[in-house]
C-alpha cells in the first residue's frame, strides 16, 4: 500500500489551468473527486484510458501529466 512509482503533476497543472478544482477536473475526466485526490497523492495509478482523459482535460501530452520513476533512478 505504498506510494506508486507513477508520479504526476496534476496539482501543478490544475493550478496553471486557472486554479481548477478537483471536482472540475473530476467532471472533465468522468471520475469522482476522490479518485482525483487518490491519483494526486499517488495512492492510485489510473488506467491508461483515464490517464489520457486527464491529459486531454489539461490539453497536454500524457508525459506532461505522468512520469514513471523507475527503481534504477532511486
Amino acid at each position: 500500500m505504498g506510494k506508486s512509482l507513477v508520479s504526476n503533476n496534476i496539482r501543478l497543472l490544475r493550478f496553471q489551468n486557472g486554479e481548477m478544482t478537483q471536482q472540475q477536473l473530476a467532471d472533465k475526466a468522468g471520475v469522482t473527486r476522490q479518485t482525483i485526490i487518490a491519483i494526486e497523492s499517488a495512492k492510485y495509478s489510473p488506467s491508461l484510458e483515464l490517464a489520457f482523459r486527464l491529459a486531454k482535460a489539461f490539453n497536454v501530452k500524457l508525459e506532461d501529466v505522468f512520469t514513471y520513476d523507475s527503481e534504477e533512478k532511486k
Partner: protein
C-alpha cells in the same frame, strides 16, 4: 507571488479533504453487518435457551441457520443502502461529491470481495478439517457462521482501508 499563490492553492485543497461518500458507506455497511449478526445470534441463542432446538437434526439446523443468514445479509445491505442514500441526499444538499462509480470504485470493490472470499475460504477449510477430525458438527457450523460474519466485516474494513489509504 506565484509561489505564495500556489501554496495557498494547496492549503485550500487540504482543508477540503473530508471523509468521502464511499468511506461513509463502508462504515455504514460494517455497522449494519454487526447489528444484523448480533440480532440474529441473539435470536438463535434465545431459541436455544428455550429448548426449541432440542429435537432438531443438527445437520439440518446448521444448514437452515446458515441459509437464512444469506438472505438476511442481502436484505440488510439493501435497506442500509437505501437509508444511507436517502440520509445522504438530505444531509449533503449541494455537496459536489456525487456518488458515481468509476474504475477505482470497481477495483476497490473487487479487492474487498477477494478478501471476503479468502476469509470464507479459510473458514470452509477449517470447517472441513473439524469434520475430518471428528469434532462435533456444531464446531464446523460455528466456524462457517463465524467466517461468514468475518468475511462480511473483513470486506467492509478492506473497502474502507483502500478508500482511505489507497493501494
Amino acid at each position: 507571488m506565484y509561489i505564495i499563490q500556489y501554496y495557498m492553492f494547496n492549503i485550500y485543497d487540504i482543508r477540503r479533504k473530508k471523509m468521502s461518500y464511499h468511506e461513509k458507506k463502508s462504515i455504514a455497511m460494517i455497522v449494519s453487518s454487526v447489528l444484523i449478526f448480533a440480532v440474529y445470534a441473539l435470536v438463535l441463542y434465545q431459541k436455544y435457551n428455550n429448548g426449541e432446538f432440542l429435537n432438531a437434526d443438527p445437520l439440518r439446523l446448521g444448514a437452515v441457520v446458515l441459509l437464512l443468514l444469506i438472505p438476511l445479509q442481502i436484505v440488510s445491505k439493501i435497506i442500509t443502502m437505501i437509508l444511507f442514500t436517502i440520509g445522504g441526499a438530505i444531509k449533503v444538499q449541494g455537496d459536489p461529491d456525487i456518488p458515481i462509480e468509476d474504475e477505482r470504485d470497481k477495483l476497490v470493490e473487487q479487492k474487498a470481495m477477494n478478501i471476503a472470499f479468502y476469509i470464507f475460504g479459510i473458514g470452509f477449510l477449517l470447517a472441513l478439517a473439524a469434520l475430518a477430525l471428528a469434532w462435533p458438527l456444531r464446531v464446523a457450523f460455528l466456524l462457517l457462521f463465524g467466517t461468514l460474519f468475518g468475511s462480511d466485516i473483513g470486506s467492509g474494513i478492506a473497502q474502507f482501508r483502500y478508500y482511505r489509504r489507497g493501494f
